[in-house]
Subunit: 274 residues, 2 copies
């Protein structure tokens, strides 16, 4: 009997402490949310939120920046609300600066999320007066960032803020998986008429590296020869004279984007279009 107590005591203590810690975290979050409600009502537009899907490219994989609220097992997108003095770009820039430290991020709107009960139900344990409990129409903005430029920052509400592989996403809160999928679909469609990569790749890259970026976004293998011909026909790349040194195989050619032609193609569309 004594041995059993000796054996179970640390386990029971651990469980009690775990529950206590979870309870305290929950109470802290609740207190914080309620305290912030009054301020939120004063400074933000009601019913409108902004959710950001931040894409980065690293180690040949497309990544997305996700956060986890304290008190939650599910992951979510970095988001926030629109100040009464802001437009949607200013709101998204401010939110991302707070979460990543990065400024002048390339941002693009890709849709609104307006279903009933997408947000109202999430805070059902809280009083109706809670700012977060109202119906929110969310405006989705995606960002393409240089992975190296971003330092994920956890804020007062979140327990974590991390890069996750697009091919291995964790379970999401609310409709954030739908929002992420829509952002990726938009990016995928845009490959047909817009150049991409300037914000995602380093200044110098090889053709296989560029192809890898396209393949991750499209989630399919592309033929190497076709990719090369199509990309050259877009006429947005400059080739360096020197090749990349090192490695067992023939040194691959190095390219960079011709910024002027790239910007022109962003404006007018790619050469093969209508």
């Amino acid at each position: 009997m004594k041995t059993a107590i000796f054996f179970f005591y640390p386990l029971i203590l651990y469980i009690v402490l775990y529950i206590l810690h979870a309870y305290i975290c929950r109470m802290q979050l609740k207190k914080l949310l309620e305290k912030k409600s009054a301020e939120a009502k004063r400074i933000y537009l009601p019913h409108i939120s902004v959710d950001c899907v931040v894409f980065g490219f690293h180690g040949g994989m497309l990544k997305v920046l996700l956060t986890k609220l304290k008190d939650q097992e599910l992951w979510g997108l970095p988001g926030g609300y629109m100040l009464k003095t802001e437009n949607v770009h200013e709101a998204a820039s401010r939110i991302l600066k707070e979460r990543t430290g990065a400024e002048n991020i390339y941002l693009q709107e890709f849709g609104t999320f307006t279903s009933l009960n997408r947000s109202e139900g999430f805070f059902k344990d809280y009083p109706d007066s809670l700012w977060n409990k109202q119906r929110f129409i969310s405006i989705g903005m995606f960002a393409l960032v240089d992975y190296e430029d971003v330092t994920p920052i956890t804020d007062d509400f979140s327990a974590a803020c991390e890069w996750k592989d697009i091919s291995d996403l964790p379970p999401f809160m609310m409709d954030h998986r739908e929002i992420t999928d829509k952002a990726l679909l938009t990016l995928r469609k845009e490959l047909n008429y817009k150049p991409i990569g300037y914000n995602l790749l380093p200044a110098e890259f090889t053709m296989p590296e560029l192809q890898r970026l396209y393949e991750t976004i499209l989630n399919k293998k592309l033929n190497r020869g076709n990719f090369y011909r199509k990309m050259i026909s877009y006429d947005i790349l400059d080739q360096f004279e020197e090749t990349r040194k090192g490695g067992a195989h023939r040194s691959p050619n190095l390219y960079c984007f011709n910024v002027k032609k790239y910007q022109q193609a962003l404006k007018d569309g790619l050469k093969e279009g209508w």
Copy 2:
């Protein structure tokens, strides 16, 4: 002297009556807006509006449906607000049904318009309690309709509701020109990866008619041979065995969309894409 009075009397009477009529119209609109304010606050979400850009194709021209408010010289888009029980598609469908009588319209979101003072300043002569005077974030939805299906309807607030040529647009109120341009730009971009025409053309059409639709959207001439080859390569058309009769020249071939292949291309993108 007598002749002068005889001559000017009808003119002066006309001017007085014109001013009186304008004044009465203005008062009526003001009264109506104020009366509807209380109801609007009860049933709609604040700060969120929906503006619809309705495209139709007629006589070889792309048209857009515009309305003119009573008391205004400027034209605007058919729009409205979102009921507390609606999502954005339901709101736009309801608004368009009220304005055109058409149901099951193909609707697509193309952006939000969130600048400060895009709506607040427009009703500056009205009291602050007026529903319409608040800051509105507008969600832009475009619709592609069969011109023949639509009967423009003037409502309580509007003096006119008409089709206008996209190449000859009248002066617009607020930022409605910007919204219209963004819708057209979105349509233009989508030509690169989506089939178009099913909602805009009659069931049977010739290749020059389809080309004309593309040319109006793109606002540029296309090479006939290239257009034909590209369109055939998309593999979304069926050719009829009989040709169109009548006319001095060789009878042109008739085509229709292959609905199954068309729907597939809407889903997966056109064959020439990535």
